[in-house]
């Protein structure tokens, strides 16, 4: 039975709930993730507690208590460091970084400590920690709340990064991330929170490191990350009218991304477009282009095209913000040289 539909946000909420039910070592930490700490009438299992800035964790504090759903001071370094320590000493913390743009405050705990401990201690310490954060432009949240930095985090050895594109994957990936004994960054696109889709009620996981072929095709491969999947699908729809058969891959995991699926597809079609909302340099798209050019050189029937955000912060003005985001028109224009001759 898969008739039940949940929003992206509710799917994450349900995933957290099921993880906490299954394993009492799972704790949540973050700013306002419960809401109302030290506010007298909101203390203790208040059903009206905010549940995070977007309400993703709403209802979890009343259910599991403030011992496991911890409102922290506004100190990313403090609670992220606490999470790393908790993970190293036996818990499975799920800290929330409210916006990925705030990574600078707590980067040391991830970059210099959390990601290196297992390696430096010869495997004797594990850091089973899932960092929930959100990225993405389109919410008119201005430059400091709209960036997409999953690629940056994915460049760190020992850190896994997943970017779900739909409610089903959001729940399954989150549960897989919490089960994982390494640091996993679970990056949610804030503009997808309201998206509804079928989500199983039971506990399930979606494999980390495995991309999903969303549409099969033979002429051209488009790899997309997160909500860029919907840009890719629109491109595929529009090109189908011209007789171009596009294969669309949802990358799902940014680090380690699924070389096997991408290379297999490129070897079939000979052509590749990568759509990544990140800024255009040193991002996941450029990494994919580099690996494909290396490992599938003899199969390429054209240059690999990367369609990304421009090399600027995200604009606040909504009209400029829409220009900033990759869209189907831009993909068709920027990758025209590997598209036009396919049209029948």
């Amino acid at each position: 039975m898969m008739s039940r539909r949940l929003t992206f946000m509710k799917a994450i909420n349900e995933g957290l709930e099921q993880a906490m039910e299954k394993d009492d070592r799972v704790i949540l930490l973050g700013e306002d993730i419960a809401g109302g700490a030290d506010v007298k009438h909101l203390e203790e299992k208040n059903e009206d507690a905010w549940g995070g800035v977007f309400g993703v964790t709403k209802g979890l504090m009343p259910k599991f208590g403030r011992e496991r759903v911890i409102d922290t001071p506004i100190s990313e370094m403090g609670y992220m460091g606490a999470a790393v320590g908790a993970a190293a000493t036996g818990l499975r913390p799920v800290p929330e970084l409210m916006f990925n743009d705030f990574i600078g405050f707590c980067f040391d705990t991830i970059l210099a400590q959390g990601s290196k401990m297992r390696y430096m201690f010869g495997g004797k310490a594990k850091i089973p920690m899932t960092i929930r954060t959100c990225h993405g432009a389109g919410a008119s949240a201005a430059a400091q709340h709209s960036g997409s930095y999953y690629g940056m985090l994915g460049a760190i050895p020992g850190v896994k990064v997943v970017v779900p594109s739909n409610p089903y994957d959001a729940k399954g990936l989150l549960l897989a991330a919490i089960e994982d004994d390494n640091i996993v960054v679970f990056s949610e696109d804030k503009t997808l929170y309201g998206m509804k889709d079928e989500v199983p009620e039971e506990y399930y996981t979606v494999e980390i490191g495995k991309a999903k072929i969303k549409r099969e095709g033979t002429d051209l491969t488009i790899v997309a990350i997160g909500k860029m999947l919907y840009v890719a699908l629109e491109v595929a729809d529009r090109l189908a009218k011209d007789g171009v058969d596009v294969e669309v891959i949802d990358l799902v995991t940014v680090a380690p991304w699924d070389e096997q699926t991408v290379l297999h597809s490129v070897k079939k079609t000979g052509r590749l477009i990568v759509i990544d909302e990140a800024n255009p340099h040193n991002n996941t798209a450029t990494d994919i282009a580099s690996v494909v050019s290396d490992k599938a050189f003899d199969y390429l029937d054209g240059p690999v095209k990367c369609v990304c955000a421009p090399n600027t912060p995200v604009p606040f003005a909504t009209n400029l913000e829409q220009l900033y985001l990759p869209n189907a028109d831009r993909v068709l224009k920027e990758a025209a040289e590997i598209i036009e001759d396919l049209k029948k």
């Binding site: 000979g270 003899d298 029937d301 025209a336 040289e337």
Partner: protein, 404 residues
């Protein structure tokens, strides 16, 4: 009624000419005898004159284009007159491709000038297409690329159908003389045509001309007639010897062209003359009917006119045998190329002084002339060709026969 201006036929072998320049434009008045255009053919340029008074009403063959001999290249008529029947340019018109260029193709051509691609300097091909082409054994340079930047893609390789090639690919005659102009181009084409259509063989032998040179001195002294310089030149004497030998060897005084072999009754001697622009071969017509001094005069006259550029057009073609002389350059033997459609050509080398034993065993000085005869083995075999060269030498060694 308009009058045609025709492409003149200036020689036996001329089949078409090129309009170099129109001296008059459409609408210009012309007088009979006035130069209307310049044409070039074979080895010369020629001014075409207006056949009547009137107006140049139509140019059929613009400058730079070719027309067959006797074909109209323009019309002269009354002012405002229309050419009846509007005759077409004798050359086939190029087929104009009516295909519309899409925005994408325009964009492509902006990326790369199409001439750069067709000139073969750099062919763009994707790695995949290159691999498939290699597997199929296709020379990808022949494939038309439709991808971005005009590059060849997998689909281009897969869609490529190799042009059917004839079993024996004919020589690309168009390419001969390509990139050359005017006389150089004509020489290139004619030399290559000669080598491609004949079986050329060159034999060499020296003539003892000691007696000839003595005879020549005696003639100069005893003739009593003041001889213009060169009238009794060695060149004249050799030419006379060749003429006498040709009279006895009709197969050497012949033409072989396009499958037709023809022995020619008259003897017309071509004399190779080096100009700065290239080699030309003016002709001494009916050379057999000339006395030695007449022959000398004719030789001097055509060579002079050729160098001045005033030689009459009909004296550029029609020779039946050609003589070429590299003696002045110190060359002894060489392998001249037949002036097609002729059968033979004689190369004259530089006069040599040699020591020899006389009949009484004295060592004497003699003068020798190296001769090189190239002939077309299709028409004449080695032995008769050697006999022909022997006859020339016999006449040179028995100089009194030259004046009989």
């Amino acid at each position: 009624m308009a009058t045609e201006i025709i492409m003149p036929k200036l020689g036996l072998t001329m089949t078409e000419g090129t309009v170099d320049e129109w001296a008059k434009q459409e609408g210009n008045p012309v007088k009979k005898g006035e130069v209307v255009c310049t044409i070039s053919s074979e080895k010369l340029t020629y001014d075409v004159e207006a056949p009547m008074d009137g107006v140049l009403i139509k140019i059929l063959v613009p400058a730079g284009e070719d027309a067959p001999c006797q074909a109209p290249i323009g019309y002269i008529g009354e002012p405002g007159e229309q050419v009846d029947g509007e005759k077409e340019n004798p050359k086939t018109k190029p087929i104009v491709a009516g295909k519309e260029e899409s925005a994408w193709q325009t964009m492509n051509s902006e990326v790369m000038d199409s001439s750069e691609k067709t000139s073969g300097t750099r062919v763009f091909i994707t790695p995949l297409a290159r691999k498939i082409a290699a597997e199929k054994g296709i020379d990808f340079k022949e494939i038309n690329g439709t991808g971005g930047n005009g590059r060849i893609t997998r689909r281009d390789v897969e869609a490529y159908v190799p042009a059917a090639k004839p079993v024996a690919a004919p020589r690309d005659t168009v390419a001969i003389g390509k990139g050359l102009k005017g006389m150089r181009k004509t020489i290139a084409q004619r030399m290559m045509a000669s080598l491609h259509t004949t079986a050329q063989l060159t034999i060499h032998r020296k003539a003892d001309i000691t007696a000839l040179m003595t005879f020549r001195e005696e003639m100069k002294v005893k003739s009593g007639v003041p001889l213009v310089d060169g009238q009794l030149s060695l060149n004249t004497l050799v030419t006379r010897a060749v003429i006498l030998a040709l009279k006895e060897t009709p197969s050497m005084n012949a033409w072989y062209k396009d499958g037709t072999y023809e022995e020619v009754n008259e003897i017309h001697i071509g004399m190779a003359v080096a100009l700065d622009e290239g080699l030309v071969v003016p002709v001494i017509k009916n050379a057999a009917n000339k006395t030695l001094t007449e022959l000398g005069k004719s030789l001097n006259s055509v060579i002079h006119d050729t160098r001045q550029g005033t030689l009459s057009g009909d004296l550029y073609t029609g020779s039946t045998f050609t003589i070429t002389n590299l003696g002045k350059s110190g060359v002894e033997y060489f392998t001249p190329i037949i002036n097609s459609p002729e059968i033979g050509i004689l190369g004259v080398g530089t006069m040599l002084k040699e020591l020899a034993l006389a009949e009484d065993n004295r060592v004497i000085q003699i003068q020798k002339l190296p001769l090189s005869l190239t002939f077309d083995h299709q028409i004449i075999d080695g032995t008769p060709a050697a006999e022909f060269l022997g006859k020339i030498i016999y006449y040179l060694e028995h100089p009194y026969l030259l004046v009989i």
